[in-house]
Amino acid sequence: MRWAVFGVLAALLPLVAGEYYINLASQIVIFAVFAASINLLLGYGGLPTLGHAAYLGVAAYVSALMHLKLGFDHWMAAPIAVLATTLMGCVFGLIALRAAGLGFLMLTLALSQVLWGTAYRWVSMTDGDNGLRGLARPTPFGLDLNQAMPFYYFALVIGAFSIWMMARFVNSAFGATLKGARDQPRRMSALGYDVWLIRWITFVYASFWGAVSGLLFVYYHKYIHPVSLSLANSAEGLLAVIAGGSGTLAGPLVGAAIVLLLKNWASAYIERWNMLLGFVFVFIVVFMPEGVVPGVKRLWKRYVSKT
């Protein structure tokens, strides 16, 4: 019910908002898909990934390169980009899931940093620091998506579908085993579940939806730069999940909205977004480790009981 209200409100937004806010809303939808795919690993799998920007960035780069170097249209490029990225997720999963916890985190970070460095240095392919430009948005069924409003609905439909699919995933029987593997890995393997396989499947699934968010990302910006693969991008996604509340379905959506609104408003006044981001990180971890929504509630209760 709540989700239906949420969906209707999101669909009605362009009727009341100006172009600037419609574009911002598109970005929030895209970022929410990205954050939700991180949440699969972090919140439901208990696997702290710090390299998820790899999937967003690689899908975006593959799609852009298909278009620029090979002249493929979007109907061809999009499935290839998602497939290639998901295959990369299969391989990265094999490597990263050799470890859990801190080791997993270091491996995902190292893998994504390698891609980031490659995007920067492989100038003949990626044009390095200049990024790839000259991209176009797709035209599904002849629809022109270059205006803010049609693109918003395009992003909203795909985003809603992605998040619905991820919600189905965590609420399925498999999702239950995933949460079991997070909370009681030993007990789960004693019960005959293959904890490693459960985690690997989730890793691949998360990389798939990360790739989808990457496609939306490159369609929106019509431009891709190595910074999309950077640690800062992975960290912003992670921050959105934790800010909203990890391991909840609505958390990444709320968190994505918080991070992007903050980023847009803050950058209107100050240039030092990275520094602010750093302070927000420290603040949230120290004062609201459970996420903003429950955190604000808790602080409010404490304030009320004191007075």
């Binding site: 710090l50 470890a99 970070l109 190292a110 460095g117 490659t118 960290a235 992670l238 030092r272 520094m275």
Partner: protein
């Protein structure tokens, strides 16, 4: 110490920049390295005491906080020192190339290798041969038991964290003549450091040394032979090691 610290790249860069500033007044690289090491150590100590202490056992919290702090450091460096790379001059005495067995080496790089070996040796002796090292190891393995027998675990941890920060800061200055100080130095160093640790194994000095050696070797040859893809080549030894020995070459426990 089993603390997930992602500030090390940023501390390295902070050290390099502090070294630049010190050398404007005292044009001596070694003094600058010492000063930067002490300053960065003080910063690290504060970080550990004020924030990380509260997050013991909370790996994700530590990661996010240290990541946040490294963003803050990187941005503060950009504000304070600007966006242009600042070279750090090589000390005069070590500018001439050295000829050994028919090969020519730059003297400064040889000196850096020498310092690295000395530091590694000193760390090994500290951790494995002294009472202090034994207390640190005990504190890491079982903090509750260690403090029950009277080891000041919390003070020791702060000290070790300071020492790590000091090495990162001084390393930034000593690496300065080779790499100079520039924005982005932190994120260039972090993956190298991570790969070195993953390769060598967490909690092993010998591993870190071997890992650094392999990484440096592979990276240098990679840059020379396939400059575009050096980063990919860099990561091949890591995959091999992880595939066959998840704990790293010399690691005592899984990362």
């Amino acid at each position: 110490m089993r603390i997930a610290n992602l500030t090390h790249g940023a501390l390295f860069m902070l050290g390099a920049y502090l070294g630049v500033t010190v050398m404007r007044y005292v044009p001596n690289l070694w003094l600058a390295a010492l000063a930067a090491g002490i300053a960065v150590a003080a910063f690290g100590g504060l970080l550990e005491k004020l924030i990380l202490r509260k997050l013991a056992g909370n790996v994700l919290g530590q990661v996010l906080v240290t990541l946040g702090v490294s963003f803050i450091i990187a941005d503060a460096c950009l504000v304070a020192w600007g966006g242009d790379p600042i070279p750090i001059p090589t000390p005069k005495a070590l500018q001439a190339p050295v000829r050994i067995a028919g090969f020519v080496f730059p003297a400064y790089r040889l000196a850096v290798v020498g310092i690295a070996v000395l530091v590694a040796l000193a760390l090994y002796l500290l951790m494995d041969r002294t009472r202090l090292g034994a207390m640190i190891r005990a504190g890491v393995d079982d903090p509750e038991m260690a403090s029950a027998v009277g080891i000041p675990v919390s003070k020791l941890f702060t000290t070790v964290f300071c020492l790590g920060a000091a090495l990162a800061g001084a390393g930034g200055v000593i690496g300065g003549p080779i790499m100079s100080a520039y924005p982005g130095l932190d994120s260039d160093m972090l993956p190298l450091a991570l790969i070195v640790v993953i390769l060598g194994g967490v909690g092993s000095l010998l591993g870190a040394f071997a890992g650094a050696f392999i990484t440096g070797f592979v990276y240098t040859f990679g840059v020379a032979l396939l400059p575009d893809l050096a980063y990919v080549i860099l990561f091949l030894p890591m995959i091999l090691v992880i595939a066959f020995r998840p704990r790293g070459l010399f690691g005592k426990f899984a990362a």
